[in-house]
Amino acid sequence: DAGITQSPRHKVTETGTPVTLRCHQTENHRYMYWYRQDPGHGLRLIHYSYGVKDTDKGEVSDGYSVSRSKTEDFLLTLESATSSQTSVYFCAISESYGNYGYTFGSGTRLTVV
């Protein structure tokens, strides 16, 4: 969607290196989310943010950290990438976490070799 962009779209990195994925929104939505999608698991929540500097863990947060210093940007960092973190990562935004529709970015395909 035009209001949410993810970068990079594709990345190959080596095991043990740090990686940062960026989600940028122009909708001024309060809530932002990072999901990963893997075959057989559907989409699983990694971390979410409910405001600037306000973040919390999701279902599969081990090995990931996030930061949100501005409303429009939500960064996902893999401190030391592992092969198990090879996945497609999606960012989503919402006006409210409970009762509004979500809009997803186009995804980042990350391969850890």
Binding site: G40, L43, L45, D56, E59, G98, Y100, Y102
Partner: protein, 113 residues
Amino acid sequence: GIQVEQSPPDLILQEGANSTLRCNFSDSVNNLQWFHQNPWGQLINLFYIPSGTKQNGRLSATTVATERYSLLYISSSQTTDSGVYFCAVHLTYSGGGADGLTFGKGTHLIIQP
């Protein structure tokens, strides 16, 4: 945690056919959404439908919250309807910790010309 089950897991239809996709969930929800992931990986929000019925062109959805299920109807299928359809829910009584939507594993729909 909440269980979200979608059926059928796979569905192959001829162009012009109608289909019904089902989503069962195990607890009370205040948010239910249907998404279509196209063959290029993009996730498109189809409906925000925690209860009731909505229609958008050839697609319609019904959620019976008291019986904990939702149905997505696709009429007069087209090849562009192919992809994976996800149901995702948010618990009514979700507290802190793992917030955000919980996704089912999806229904993979193939529409043949």
